[in-house]
């Protein structure tokens, strides 16, 4: 791996001091003079018609400044997915019908949060209860209650971007049989493949909903400047431009009249992308009352109403040759997206997107449905489909390997894709370290020795150990509004630089890694970079920090901007040094020198000052990068056609577990992740992403579960929704595979999302290895495992 001065080093985060001292301002910390506090009244019923709403008593409460109900906003619609086929189905406040427990019904703004809470309790709503449906399979049946029978216009938020405007005739009406999204992809001839197979196996897996649990609750502050007509907002979000776009669409004000201000984000994990009713309501109330309004959700509201990971049932059937070569695979996914579409059509597409880049399967068929139910709404959570599909596929592979008497590691290596492979949709794997990842992870977990040692260990001990492995992949950015990222680098006359970026640091460290890219390219020190971010007025457009595109897409834009600035500085320096060709110059530590005579140099400061004095050029570098240069729109979710991403990140993860066969408790002893992130821009940060992913994955494998009964969430708290705590921390080993992605800055691509997914299957496989018991549904709670153990072990 090439050594650089600044990138690749584990330098401390640039936002570390602000965060360590408590000075970093999060949205929950924003306080404006005269600020009002909003609180939302929510539906306690999973499915009901609103007959009437009486706000009279609440309005009389001293300190109440405004109450809004759905009637006032009946024509406002928006959604994460908004296409002619899948028209937007969400409204900020329910107009005449509520579809899940927690659905927004009214909002109050008052002088204090306590008053707003009281006022909410005083609002009387009369409901007519409607028959609910809570299981996706039942919701799809003929005769099930229809959750969205409204006729929605097939318009799209994206029409001015040239994205399909009209529904094509013959397209199925969305919402029939409660189906909210459908993906179908196939290539080769699956039936023929099965015919030729020596061996066929089918398994069904299911996974419960999980929650993101960012430690900072969701919050929004809005303030309307009536003089200029500008709406100012502070949001805890992953993408400032996407939020601005949605606010502009829904509030019907020009994007340039909305300014999203910078705040730090206390974790997001996919749960802070969608436009949420509380955000719209804060903005709407601020415009209506002409005072700043803040809405901060309670933890319970965060659990119930800000999206969850899709629960899924996944059926996989695979046909193979005796030697373990996969001939054919048929996958069927049913995802429950709750009362509104959320990211349903996207996640059933992504389950395909994260399935097919791994194994090279000649005959393949995939079908996925997302389905409306009266459960909470589901959206992207770290990996967005990857945890579910990877758990299922690699549990399945492990089972097959057992049946065939093969070593799963060897079976994986036999079937995985390699660099240079062209995927059926046309995506090219220009970098792919999948095999190295698998080999590395197997080595680090002690695969050969431990597997043998554990499986031949005495059979009656209380504690048993086992090892397992799984692999995963993730996009490095994809096409979504605003379809590209850009960056501006402004140099100061002391030689330091300010980076203007619209990418959000949600904890993943992008301010630091982007600053490193800038410093490296320009030839200055990391301390010389200031970051201005998170502000839609100050910063150039950016995709936002989701779909793992920040390192590759924004990183490339920053690198280009820095190169642009560098060229301008070199022109100034060339003149001073009397060099004709700027290519003969190099930069380091804010100095510019001729390669041939490094002792002759000018400082950045001198070069910039010269530039200003001679030409008036203060040096501003501009860079931009599009997720994928070969396409100008996102792929077809329904058919999986079109290019998906410029580069795939890969990982292999292995787990060693210890099962207490008397209580069914599983302890994750060791977690290994080998991640092909292209190139680690910051080693410490990459490792941190890997540890964080592994921990979240372990939680999803063993304890995290949204517990629902008739649409009611029984564990909306950290006491009962069991996140991993410090005492659950395994020995965590990470290996970085640097496959050097040609399109990425210094070779970097995705890290921080993919490796949540492999640990699930690794743990399930390890539990099987330890005990002989296969659990096909997550999480593997002691309550689930113990009865299975009792059956097998006694």
């Amino acid at each position: 791996m090439k050594e650089y001065k600044i990138v690749g080093k584990g330098l401390p985060r640039v936002d570390g001091p602000a965060k360590a001292t408590g000075k970093a301002g999060y949205t929950v910390d924003v306080h404006l003079p005269g600020m009002l506090y909003g609180k939302i009244l929510r539906s306690p019923y999973p499915h009901a018609r609103i007959i009437s709403i009486d706000t009279g008593e609440a309005e009389k409460l001293p300190g109440v400044k405004g109450i809004v109900t759905g009637k006032e906003l009946h024509n406002v619609r928006y959604a994460f997915v908004d296409t002619p086929r899948y028209p937007a189905d969400e409204q900020p406040l329910a107009v005449d019908r509520v579809r899940y427990i927690g659905d927004e019904v009214a909002v109050v703004a008052a002088e204090s949060e306590a008053i707003a809470e009281k006022a909410v309790e005083l609002i009387k709503v009369e409901y007519e209860i409607l028959p609910p449906v809570f299981k996706a399979e039942e919701a799809m049946k003929e005769g099930a209650p229809l959750i969205h029978d409204e006729q929605l216009e097939g318009t799209s938020s994206w029409e001015q971007w040239g994205v399909a405007q009209k529904k094509k005739s013959g397209e199925a009406k969305s919402g029939a049989n409660n189906i909210s999204g459908h993906s179908r992809v196939s290539y080769g001839d699956v039936e023929q493949g099965f015919k030729e197979a020596d061996y066929i196996r089918e398994d069904v897996f299911d996974l419960k909903a999980t929650a993101h649990c960012p430690m900072e609750p969701h919050a929004a502050v809005a303030n309307f400047d009536a003089v200029s007509g500008t709406l100012h907002v502070w949001l805890s979000t992953q993408g400032i431009f996407l939020k601005r776009f949605f606010l502009s669409k829904t509030l019907k004000i020009p994007t340039a009249k909305i300014r999203v201000h910078h705040t730090y984000v206390g974790g997001a994990f996919g749960g802070k992308i969608d436009l949420f009713p509380y955000e719209y309501c804060a903005a709407y109330l601020a415009m209506k009352i002409k005072r700043p309004v803040k809405i901060e959700l309670d933890r319970e509201e965060v659990f119930m109403t800000t999206r969850q990971r899709h629960p899924m049932t996944i059926t996989v059937k695979t046909g193979l040759k005796k030697d373990g070569a996969i001939l054919a695979q048929d996958i069927r996914v049913i995802a429950d997206n709750g009362g509104y579409r959320g990211s349903g059509p996207v996640v059933v597409f992504l389950c395909h997107g994260f399935s097919y880049p791994i194994y090279n399967i000649p005959n393949y068929r995939y079908e996925g449905f997302s389905v409306y139910t009266n459960n909470p709404i589901r959206g992207p959570q770290r990996g967005h489909g990857a945890p579910q599909i990877r758990f299922s596929l690699d549990s399945h592979i492990d089972l097959i390997a057992r049946d065939l008497g093969l070593d799963p590691v060897e079976m994986m290596l036999k079937n995985v894709r390699v660099q240079g492979d062209v995927l059926p949709n046309g995506d090219v794997l220009n970098s792919c370290g999948l095999s190295e990842c698998i080999e590395g992870a197997a080595r680090a977990i002690g695969w050969k020795e431990k597997r043998r040692q554990f499986s031949t260990a005495e059979g009656d001990g209380r504690y048993r150990r086992g090892v397992g492995i799984s692999v995963c992949s993730m996009f490095s950015g994809a096409m979504y509004y605003p379809f590209a990222s850009s960056a501006v680098v402004k140099l100061h006359d002391d030689g330091s630089a300010t980076l203007f970026t619209g990418a959000q640091d949600i904890g993943q460290g992008s301010y630091t890694t982007l600053s490193q890219v800038l410093a490296e390219e320009l030839g200055i020190c990391l301390e010389d970079v200031h970051v201005v971010a998170g502000d839609t007025d100050l910063c150039p457009i950016d995709l936002g920090s989701f779909l793992s595109g920040t390192a590759l897409v924004t990183g490339s834009a920053v690198k280009m901007a820095a190169a642009d600035a560098r060229r301008q500085v070199l022109e100034g320096a060339a003149e001073l040094l009397g060099v004709d060709d700027i290519n003969e110059l190099d930069t380091r530590e804010k100095k510019i020198f001729a390669r041939k005579e490094p002792e002759r140099y000018v400082t950045f400061q001198q070069a910039i000052q010269t530039g200003v004095l001679r030409k008036g050029n203060p040096v501003i570098g501009i860079g931009y990068y599009k997720g994928y240069d070969k396409t100008d729109r996102y792929p077809s979710l329904a058919k999986g056609k079109g290019l998906f991403t410029g580069a795939y990140g890969f990982a292999a993860q292995a787990a060693e577990v210890e099962v207490d066969t008397w209580t069914g408790k599983v302890r994750l002893v060791k977690a290994v992740t080998f991640h092909d992130c292209g190139y680690p821009l910051n080693k410490t940060i990459v490792e941190g992403q890997i540890h964080g992913c592994a921990s979240m994955g372990a939680g999803q494998a063993l304890s995290e579960e949204i517990y629902l009964q008739k649409g009611q969430l029984f564990n909306p708290s950290f006491l009962t929704y069991r996140l991993p705590i410090s005492t659950d921390t395994p020995e965590s080993v990470e290996g970085i595979v640097a496959s050097l992605e040609p399109s990425g800055p210094f070779g970097a691509k995705e890290v921080g999302e993919g490796s949540v997914a492999g640990i699930l299957g690794a743990i399930a496989n390890a539990v099987h290895d330890a005990t002989g018991v296969r659990i096909k549904s997550l999480p593997i709670t002691p309550d689930k495992l113990l009865p299975a153990l009792l059956e097998v072990l006694v």
């Binding site: 584990g10 401390p12 985060r13 936002d15 570390g16 001091p17 602000a18 965060k19 360590a20 001292t21 408590g22 000075k23 970093a24 301002g25 999060y26 929950v28 910390d29 306080h31 993101h212 649990c213 960012p214 430690m215 900072e216 609750p217 730090y264 984000v265 206390g266 974790g267 997001a268 994990f269 309670d298 933890r299 949600i506 904890g507 993943q508 460290g509 410490t684 940060i685 490792e687 941190g688 540890h691 964080g692 992913c693 592994a694 921990s695 979240m696 708290s717 950290f718 006491l719 996140l723 991993p724 705590i725 410090s726 005492t727 921390t729 965590s732």
Partner: protein, 158 residues
């Protein structure tokens, strides 16, 4: 009218006399009246440790503590750790070791660490894990936080 009470307490070394509504938590008073927003609210029910402050030197969840109950006590928040513009060694080491990601759990983690090292300068791994076991971090998986505390304990040992 909500009943109020005068309380006398020391916050980050400064003596304060405050009048507070008796139904407010220490967390609310710190954040809203004293603008000490480094103390965070993650759950508001004593389940996550984001609101950790040191009460007479011991870490407690300020969201579950009535402000009136802090009367006569000393409170220490993250803002009191180092003079403006400087970093305490714990803050420095947390940052160097990658123990900070989104930063929302960080003030609480740092205060618990301070108390741990004050009372036990060289804790072993198990003691470290137990000390921070009431503080939830969603970002780091705790690995680098534990590393940072280990590094600090090594420093204290020398």
């Amino acid at each position: 009218m909500m009943m109020k009470k005068n309380i006398h307490l020391e916050i980050n070394g400064e003596i304060k006399d405050l009048t507070v509504d008796v139904n407010r938590t220490l967390l609310e008073v710190l954040r809203e009246d004293l603008n000490l927003t480094g103390t965070k609210k993650g759950c508001n029910q004593g389940e996550c440790g984001a609101c950790t402050v040191l009460l007479d030197g011991k870490p407690v969840s300020s969201c579950s503590l009535l402000a009136v109950k802090a009367d006569g006590k000393s409170i220490f928040t993250v803002e009191g750790l180092a003079p403006e513009g400087q970093l305490h060694p714990i803050q420095q080491t947390f940052n160097e070791k990658g123990a900070i990601q989104c930063g929302f759990c960080t003030p609480g983690m740092i205060l618990v660490t301070k108390q741990l090292l004050d009372s036990n300068p060289s804790p072993d791994e198990q003691e470290i894990k137990e000390a921070i076991s009431g503080n939830i971090c969603r970002c780091t998986g705790y690995v680098q936080i534990i590393d940072a505390i280990k590094a600090l304990s090594d420093v204290t040992k020398k």
